[in-house]
C-alpha cells in the first residue's frame, strides 16, 4: 500500500505516488534553477509541465490510475535532465549562482514571526534569531526600531525560491544543495501532515 498525492500538472489532475511526487518535484526544481536566467523562465517551465502531463496521461488507463516512480523516470528520460538540455549559448545562470560566495539578504518566510526581516538578517550573518529580535525590540523602545523594520521590510525581498533560500545563507547554489533543501522541505511537509 502506498499513499498517493493529487496534483494539478499543466491543467490535468493527476494522481501520483508519494515517492514519485518527490522525484517529480525535485526534477522540476532542477529545471527551474537551470532556466532561472531566461527572460521567460516561468513560461518555459509551464510549457514543459504541460508536456509532462500529456506524457503521463498516455501512461494511465482504467487499470492503471496512478503515476508511479517508474513513469516519472521514463518521462524525465524523454524530456531530459538539465544537463541534457544544456544550451550552447555560453554560461547559464546556474553557473553564476554556483560561484562561491553568492550571498544576498532576503526575508526568511520559514522562520518569521512578523515579516521575516529578523530571521533573514540572522541567516545572512549567521546569528541567533532571538538576538536580532532583542536588538530590534530595544531599538523599538528607543523609538526608531519600528520605522527601521518597516523600511527593511520594503527594501529586502522575500526568499521565494529554493535558490533564494540557499543564497540567503550564503551557500553556493548547486544541484547538490538544492537536493538537500528540497528534501528538507518535503520532510517538513510530511511531518506537518503527520504521515
Amino acid at each position: 500500500m502506498k499513499i498517493t498525492v493529487s496534483i494539478n500538472l499543466g491543467g490535468y489532475s493527476i494522481n501520483i505516488d508519494e515517492d514519485a511526487y518527490a522525484e517529480l518535484k525535485r526534477y522540476l526544481k532542477n529545471l527551474e534553477l537551470h532556466f532561472a536566467g531566461e527572460e521567460s523562465s516561468a513560461e518555459i517551465l509551464s510549457d514543459i509541465e504541460a508536456r509532462m502531463a500529456e506524457l503521463f496521461r498516455t501512461k494511465l488507463t482504467n487499470y492503471k490510475q496512478v503515476i508511479d516512480i517508474g513513469d516519472v523516470h521514463q518521462v524525465i528520460t524523454v524530456l531530459g535532465t538539465p544537463e541534457d538540455i544544456s544550451d550552447n549559448e555560453g554560461p547559464t545562470v546556474s553557473d553564476k549562482f554556483s560561484s562561491p560566495g553568492y550571498h544576498r539578504m532576503y526575508r526568511d518566510p520559514d522562520h518569521r514571526s512578523i515579516g521575516g526581516v529578523c530571521a533573514g538578517i540572522a541567516a545572512y550573518w549567521d546569528m541567533e534569531i532571538w538576538l536580532v529580535r532583542v536588538i530590534f525590540l530595544i531599538l523599538a523602545f528607543m523609538g526608531v526600531g519600528i520605522l527601521i523594520y518597516l523600511i527593511l521590510y520594503i527594501v529586502i525581498p522575500e526568499a521565494k525560491t529554493t535558490a533564494d533560500k540557499i543564497a540567503m545563507k550564503g551557500n553556493p547554489v548547486n544541484i547538490h544543495n538544492i537536493k538537500d533543501s528540497v528534501k528538507q522541505e518535503f520532510d517538513t511537509v510530511r511531518k506537518n501532515m503527520k504521515l
Binding site: E38, I44, D47, R51, L79, G80, D87
Partner: protein, 108 residues
Amino acid sequence: MDLENNKAQMRKGILEYCILSVLSRNSCYASDIIKELKEAEVIVVEGTLYPLLTRQKNAGLLSYRWEESLQGPPRKYYELTEEGRRYLADLDKSWMELVESVNHIRTR
C-alpha cells in the same frame, strides 16, 4: 576528437532552423513539432525545444494562440510571424550555400 559531441554540435546548430521550417508549413503545437523533429532525428531530449520556442517567440519570429482541445486543456499553437518568414528565407539561402560549399569540397 569526440564524434558524438561533434554530431551533437551539428544538430544544435540546425535545430532552430528546423523548428522554423516545420512551422512554415502550418501552425502547430509543441508536441506536433516534437514528433516531426524526432522522426527526422534532429532532437534527442524533448526539453531542448521549449526554451528555443520561447526565445524565438520573444525575438518576434513566432507568435502563438490558445486553441481548445478535445483531449484536455487548451493548447498553444505556434505560427511564424512576417519577420519569422523573412528570417527563415535568409536561413534557407545560407543553408543551400552551406550544402553547396560542403559538396564542393567533398566531390573535388
